[in-house]
Symmetry: C2
Subunit: 263 residues, 2 copies
Amino acid sequence: MVANKKARTNPPYELLYWPGIPGRGEFIRLAFEAAGVSYKDTANESEDGITEVTSLIDASSTGTSGNPPPFAPPALRIPGAGPNDTPLIIYQTPSILSYLGPKLSLAGSNEAEAQWILSHTLTALDLNNEAHDTHHPIAVSKYYEEQKEESLKKAQDFREARIPKFLGFFERVLKGNEEKGQGKYLVGDKLSYADTTLWNVLSGLLFAFPKEMEARKSDYKLLFGIFYDGVKEASGVKEYLASDRRKPFSMGVFRHYPELDRQ
Amino acid sequence: MVANKKARTNPPYELLYWPGIPGRGEFIRLAFEAAGVSYKDTANESEDGITEVTSLIDASSTGTSGNPPPFAPPALRIPGAGPNDTPLIIYQTPSILSYLGPKLSLAGSNEAEAQWILSHTLTALDLNNEAHDTHHPIAVSKYYEEQKEESLKKAQDFREARIPKFLGFFERVLKGNEEKGQGKYLVGDKLSYADTTLWNVLSGLLFAFPKEMEARKSDYKLLFGIFYDGVKEASGVKEYLASDRRKPFSMGVFRHYPELDRQ
């Protein structure tokens, strides 16, 4: 495992995800960056990298080198880590994070913490999915404009019921762990991939629903008073966010449609 | 760990989930039943068991005995497995399954298989969530009747685009693993919690969308020719399905609204 933050050559890990957007690949990027471990972001780093992503999810594939076909990006390829020194390919964001967590020292200090970190990560990703569904409540294959009427309804429920439910929950998690985590960490006394994952979802919500979030922020003292800025300033994360490797939110999971925000 | 199928006394594991419906608790039940490991299903086994579930997710809770508050059921309580011999409580279906998997010998034979099993489980649970959203596309807090118009649109896309996408994917996974799994197992050469999880989702789809599934079944030779009946007849699962511990699908995640099925 390359643990030198400066070493970005021969990365052992390869992220396969769509280029140009943060998307679900961002949760994997943030884990690597927070750990200072180098990785190859194939579709962003090479012209034809996207063909590697599309071939991986080809609708006729039954898998490669003994690996099953991924259902969708992101996927992680680790040369030599599969059976008989073949590349290992795993997919699904929470599965990739649970695999990387202990290897990147982002999965807590014991089995209980590791499990809570995975649980909170899944909850943050549920919030991520619900945010996506505000602009695609009927069909992912159709344009937003084709489901705008339903989006207005879905977004209202999301803003009024779901955002406070999720934010209230994470505030309570931080409170319950305050003695160890001091409001900076969801679990234990150090950064985990649950923290970087929740941070990215909050960051996306601030982009997509700026008025709603501004109106609610002060209800969550630990979440927005300590946690959010703490992760943003964390070693590795801070440098990453200032780099051109961090892609801006645009038309991916998080989209800023003013009509879906608080009026 | 109690490995005797007959021993249902002093179970080390306690499932905390809503009573009377399969729901998301069913994925956990099936894992225990397939492994022949006893567990306490609190809300189904005692009159006031449901208060244990509701107190666990109380909206003001910051957790108990050093555990974080669960966001929602199911949760798993394991006496003595937490820090300082306190009970360990974990939540989120995939997190509970990834914890139990190795302990119940349902997580494959090596790290790669364990990871694929978690990945496929997450994908099957995504399908489960999409099935739920066909009758609740706008708001979980509202009745189906209040979002029926949107449900008709969502269900059409689910039937025409999503069902074939997911079933086609799992057929390819079985095909890619056919040498080892013989169409019976998604990963490797023995039953895993990915198999029981996918099986329950398929079972739910057959209940909720009987016409759609009947029309499509023959497209998936391994999935419905071998896999589905194989899991249903597996040791432990078969006995469970014949018992009164298996609750019928009714008005939970999977619901049979004839108007949402193929016409």
